[in-house]
Symmetry: C2
Amino acid sequence: MTLDERKRAILESIIRDYVETAEPVGSRAIVKKHGLKISAATVRNEMADLEDMGYLEQPHTSAGRIPSEKGYRYYVDCIMEKEKPTDEDMFILQGLLGEHMRDWQAVAQKIGQFMAQLTNYASFIVLPAVRFEQITSLQLVPLNEGQALLLMVTDNGLVMHRTIEIPATVSKADLEQMAESLTQSLRGKTLASVRRGELRSMRDELKRRRQVIDRALEAIEQVMGENGDDKVLISGILNMLNEPEFKDMEMLKRVLKLLEEERHLKHLLPLKAGQEVNIRIGRENQEESVRDMSLVFTGYRSGNEEGKLGLIGPVRMEYWKAAGSLESIQMMIEEVMKKYFT
Amino acid sequence: MTLDERKRAILESIIRDYVETAEPVGSRAIVKKHGLKISAATVRNEMADLEDMGYLEQPHTSAGRIPSEKGYRYYVDCIMEKEKPTDEDMFILQGLLGEHMRDWQAVAQKIGQFMAQLTNYASFIVLPAVRFEQITSLQLVPLNEGQALLLMVTDNGLVMHRTIEIPATVSKADLEQMAESLTQSLRGKTLASVRRGELRSMRDELKRRRQVIDRALEAIEQVMGENGDDKVLISGILNMLNEPEFKDMEMLKRVLKLLEEERHLKHLLPLKAGQEVNIRIGRENQEESVRDMSLVFTGYRSGNEEGKLGLIGPVRMEYWKAAGSLESIQMMIEEVMKKYFT
DNA sequence: ATTAGCACTCGATAGGGGAGAGTGCTAACA
DNA sequence: TGTTAGCACTCTCCCCTATCGAGTGCTAAT
């Protein structure tokens, strides 16, 4: 399905105008605004053709045209050129990332915020699940009578911790010893490989201080459960409010609800995202609640770690800008990850 | 300024009706709904009086009355009886808190979410700053060539961490030794008392491995900076969308913007909140951006720790329910805190 | 193939009545 | 003197209609 040069130009003009103004575009407006060398009447004929082909639609008989989802799709596939962020913007981002940060999650959060601000859509970043990482160190720190803190550090610097109850009689030295045993037994294991069964057999082996070990293992298991899932960071939800398509509360509520329950977002995306930028326009999305929005997303990886990042906005979206920004940020993210996960 | 029994009853009826329906309340409606033994005409007279006194206002000549802010104030001060959550609700909350949780912040988050859900307003919890806490343990865990993880644990189980760069030549044993030295020097100090000067003098004392120590001290300082401020947790922002007063986008945006910048919220509240429930109605608030909303909040404390928690909603708020819920949750929170901060 | 001209369509906007809810006032009543 | 019924009045809400204008589709001329 290929369009001649003129139809492409017209389709592009309509899309860019409509995305900007959110109002149907008329034949006259196109000729004026984009300085085409053809008359409005000619444009009208072409527009009628484009409508027949399904790339445009008319809200009502005597309004201008708006792009259909098929129209956006054609534009995205065959016409669009990704628009990179300005050097200045990228410079700002680099500045942000230059600051020393607590951990990878904090960095990702910052990047997400920046993406949202840059594009004016809502951004999301799916962090890799922890399950592929290895335990480097495990420590038990006494807190006060009857409580200790279990700390686990993974090879990539992720820290997980949880307080556990211990008998008041256990001494600090005891705790250290137990931590040492646990570390010996668990070091180098991926969290995923540490399953209930394995923990059980280990407990038998370390019969001494059964109670503390029990609690510790329980805690480890829980922590693993918590971190076993991918984590989703979302920023810029407020940007939604600027889009006229959300003037109607019902829709807004639906979307915000969706985003609030972060976990659901994962299901919107394919299990494995490639490295290239994906675009899902409106009804192309599986999930009911996001059928009238668009997703622009991609995957990132660096070594073992892989995650996803993307933008969510109205169907009437600046795809060129979203895709361009995403591509640049994807590169930057992989760069930064190298620093955090050697 | 005291009102006779009948006026009070009428004012209360109007407030409860208006809060429920968000529409001006007429004389007839009051008599019918609340089964008063007086006629609509009498009510009208009383209403005219109440309006003269400033407790009611009329949106326009021939509509019903709505409570003025002064009216709400009178109600809150002199008529209202706090309405406690049902036993069932409190039971659910206890169930939630029974689950073992990562740390105090996670608990507070849960409580906040519950508050929001219970009342259908937005909730906030201000966590005590970390500065009053003491360092229990400090550890350096090697991650990989050239990186180590600095871990600080405070007496109440708060874990702060940060990766630092180290020379590749430093061994694990060295790290442990340095951590030990640092711990010795810092143990028992409150974060607030560890100021730049003190860190400097300490560095001289520990001249060996200057570079690592330097990095570690830098990191400690940064971590302290990050945690030196009170932290604000907000939940249930979505609840705002249900209130008809936010049908107009502009206002909604303003409020959400306010809540997004969590830090600002602190400035809305008095420096030190007492233990009783405070209510700030509309214009009683200092901060411009929250002049057409109401705050219901209180302080909590347990030992050294003190923070605030509260609800934010429209002026047309179920104060009785908000205040009652808050009071119950305050008690619960102090209970739970005992467990976390012995 | 392109363009100018023109009739036609349809949403958006403004103005003009009711309809209905609620008030304030007056006069009668206990 | 406080309470009540009755009634005229006010103001919003909603529906109906007329008008306006942007934009189309068609036709005939270039």
